[in-house]
Amino acid sequence: MGERVPQHIQNQIIRKFCEINNLEYSLSASEYAMKDSYLMLEEIINEKSNLDGIVFYSLFQLPENKIYRNNIYKNIIKRKKKIFFSVENYKLSKKNDILELEEIWDVKSILPNCYKGF
């Protein structure tokens, strides 16, 4: 969605988020830079590790494609993991959480078509 914050700043925010929310920060992962790449994300979600969840810098790092994004939510819930979004301070761990996140995505997606001037 055209957002860019330097990676080391993203890591600082994520670390702080973990500290405030009593989450153990175990490893940092960076997505490949190619457009629409989610290879690293898929790797982390699907690996049979001891990870309880994933902390994203922002909700808007998820895939822009709604179907793909919903598959990620479902996969996370199915695997009894959690995802957190530091900037927005949201958490997804159950089906009901999807609606709230998707409302924000829906609004964000149509804002480029709304009045912009001031």
């Binding site: 922002s58 909700l59 808007f60 709604k66 900037v87 927005e88 301070n89 709230e100 409302e103 924000i104 829906d106 609004v107 964000k108 997606s109 149509i110 804002l111 709304c114 009045y115 912009k116 001037g117 001031f118």
Partner: protein
């Protein structure tokens, strides 16, 4: 102005344009009392004292400076803020208290600030001052309004001030004369033209945050307690404070949901 607005809305809008704010009695007093009880409950927990009875809330809040020291004030404030902002019910009640006015002035598909703010201004405390400013100058969108809810009666220096709209035009066109000066110089210049908000518990203030406003040292003998939260039309322009990180959608309507999720059928294989 659209002639399709009903008389009540037109009158309300006229007042809002003219004064830069409106004050009304809260129609949903029960929700307002719930908000105040949540604050008192959290305050008592933070101070490790027994919860007060509702009939004593007013006196307790007004006289809290007798048990809170200025150096501990920010910790107390943060404890309360974390408590109220972790409750979606608190946010919902906040909206309900202001709903009718918001629907009239802003619209019925709304975004609400994700964190409600709390001001506690102890008598003679210079550490909780908000120098004169317009929220737009620090990244808010001019499409937002602030819903300001007093938890005690606010008056004289135990309140906030706002520059009258009729005086803002001149300030706006002559703003370059403040280059190199500070906000105190600016306030000195506008002081005679600001309105000091006189508001009681049980009333609600909605103001135009693009107008310069702020507060001064509370020189009354009581502590000021007030909440504030921004609302805007969901699809109006955002400033630096974006949807998701600062605002959340709270009243998306069915037609918008259908539209947002609609895509034309695809004829390509």
């Amino acid at each position: 102005m659209s002639s399709y607005l009903d008389k009540k809305d037109i009158q309300l809008s006229k007042n809002f344009f003219k004064k830069g704010f409106i004050i009304r009695k809260v129609s949903d007093l029960k929700s307002l009392k719930t908000l105040r009880a949540a604050i008192v409950n959290s305050l008592c927990k933070s101070l490790k004292i027994k919860m007060k009875k509702e009939k004593d809330f007013d006196k307790f809040l007004n006289e809290v400076h007798e048990i809170i020291k200025i150096k501990n004030l920010n910790d107390v404030r943060l404890n309360i803020l974390n408590s109220i902002n972790s409750s979606s019910e608190f946010h919902k009640k906040y909206f309900e208290v202001s709903k009718d006015l918001l629907f009239s002035l802003v619209g019925n598909e709304l975004a609400m600030q994700t964190r409600v703010n709390l001001s506690i201004q102890l008598p003679d405390d210079s550490s909780s001052l908000l120098p004169v400013h317009s929220d737009i100058w620090s990244g808010d969108s001019p499409f937002e309004v602030v819903v300001w809810i007093p938890l005690v009666n606010c008056y004289s220096s135990k309140t906030m001030y706002i520059l009258k709209p009729e005086n803002y035009k001149k300030i706006h066109t002559q703003f370059k004369k403040y280059a190199g000066k500070n906000s105190s110089d600016f306030f000195k210049n506008i002081k005679k033209n600001v309105e000091w908000i006189n508001i009681k518990f049980g009333e609600i203030l909605i103001f135009n945050q693009s107008l310069p406003h702020g507060n001064i040292i509370n020189s009354e003998k009581e502590t000021r307690w007030s909440l504030n939260c921004r609302f805007k039309s969901l699809y109006s322009p955002y400033g630096d404070k974006k949807i998701g990180e600062f605002f959340k959608p709270i009243t998306i309507r069915a037609a918008s949901k259908i539209g947002m999720n609609y895509s034309l059928p695809n004829l390509k294989k």
